[in-house]
């Protein structure tokens, strides 16, 4: 039961993009086409789940026993950066089609604050290993959902006559605002 609550809350109520403001850069940058938005969402979810497990192990198996919590940030970002490289090499060797679909997005993920944010929040919320895992899957699903909805709207937007000053980033922000407003409706779910 607890795990279901964590999943729903990470995916919908505290949606990473629309209510926690994590991963805004890819949200604005890679949401022009539904295909690429979905691939990006999958790549992020994939890295998120692995990164969450590894950072959990590092924090609780290395940093806490040796009382090195002060190195939390440096350790996490190094782990994430090297993990992204490893994942990229691994996918290239194992599955060529998957690499072609995710390839270009993987390097961008290192500086995606959603990944680091997830690692930090699972420490902050004192989740155990299972809860961290579910939290990561939920957050990834929420990220993908927000990205795909946004891409769907932006594909239609191509046909609309937007006032000059609002073209580009400005109208994207306004749309994100209305989406965030809609997502606030999930607040009563739990």
């Amino acid at each position: 039961m607890n795990l279901i609550v964590i999943f729903i809350s990470a995916a919908l109520i505290n949606n990473f993009v629309l209510s926690q403001f994590l991963g805004i850069c890819p949200f604005v940058g890679v949401s022009k086409k539904i295909d690429s938005a979905f691939s990006m969402g999958m790549a992020v979810t994939f890295v998120m789940v692995i990164a969450a497990m590894v950072t959990w192990l590092i924090y609780h198996m290395i940093l806490v026993p040796f009382r090195l919590e002060i190195l939390e940030y440096v350790a996490f970002i190094l782990v994430i950066a090297s993990l992204v490289q490893l994942v990229e090499m691994f996918i290239r060797k194992v599955s060529k089609p998957l690499y072609d679909a995710l390839g270009i997005f993987l390097p961008l993920i290192t500086t995606n604050c959603a990944i680091l944010g997830l690692a930090l929040y699972s420490v902050l919320n004192e989740y155990n290993f299972m809860q961290t895992l579910v939290y990561a899957i939920g957050a990834g699903a929420g990220f993908t959902l927000a990205l795909v909805i946004m891409a769907g709207i932006r594909e239609e937007l191509e046909l609309v006559d937007v006032p000059g000053s609002f073209k580009g980033a400005a109208i994207t922000m306004i749309i994100a605002g209305s989406l965030a407003l809609a997502f606030m409706g999930f607040a009563g779910l739990i």
């Binding site: 403001f21 994590l22 970002i77 190094l78 000053s165």
Partner: protein, 201 residues
């Protein structure tokens, strides 16, 4: 880039290449912490400090850092300064540290800071890099201050905690909620575009 004077190097961060309104970098903290002017200012100053220190160190070490591992090196340098800021705020300004929460450590992955290291500090001398970092930092802080002021005044009727609107004003609660952040920033970007377009024609 060499033909710019030192002063122009500083000035470009304020408007022409403003990190938030023009380059759209580092938007996560911009949207998340700007519920009150105090938070916005604190976030701006923290990011500016990290940006200036890392630009200084990166430009100093730019000939030593091997090109293949430069991004990782930049991130480690940035993460070190972020840890310093985080500990400092936790010790001397616990309230602000609590309000900003996870967004202090998230300065590490702020693309504005990494972007400046990659695009500028790793290619230019110490003096120019410092000026560039200072300009970008001030531009970032001012933008955050304006956005958070708009949100705080409309959303709670106060500015830096002081009541400044008439007593019958009913606050627009949506402005301090997540949607308000997107709407206010969208309007600010549109405003900046409008001014630039008008100046051009």
């Amino acid at each position: 880039m060499k033909n710019k004077t030192a002063f122009q190097e500083f000035l470009k961060g304020l408007w022409d290449e403003n990190p938030v309104l023009v380059s759209l970098l580092g938007l996560c903290p911009v949207l998340a912490v700007t519920v009150s002017a105090e938070n916005g200012l604190a976030m701006g100053l923290a990011a500016t400090f990290v940006l200036i220190c890392s630009s200084f160190l990166v430009s100093l070490l730019r000939k030593v850092i091997p090109a293949q591992v430069r991004i990782a090196s930049f991130i480690v340098i940035i993460a070190t300064f972020v840890t310093i800021v985080d500990r400092f705020l936790a010790a001397f300004a616990p309230d602000i540290s609590r309000n900003l929460g996870a967004f202090i450590p998230l300065i590490i992955v702020n693309c504005m800071i990494l972007g400046r290291q990659e695009a500028f500090a790793s290619k230019n001398g110490v003096g120019r890099s410092l000026l560039d970092a200072l300009g970008m930092g001030v531009g970032f802080t001012l933008t955050l201050l304006v956005l958070s002021s708009i949100r705080e005044i409309l959303g709670s009727g106060t500015w830096f905690g002081m009541n400044i609107l008439w007593s019958s004003f009913s606050p627009w609660a949506v402005m301090i909620l997540p949607p308000g952040a997107f709407l206010a920033l969208g309007c600010m970007i549109a405003g900046a575009n409008w001014i630039n377009r008008r100046n051009k024609s």
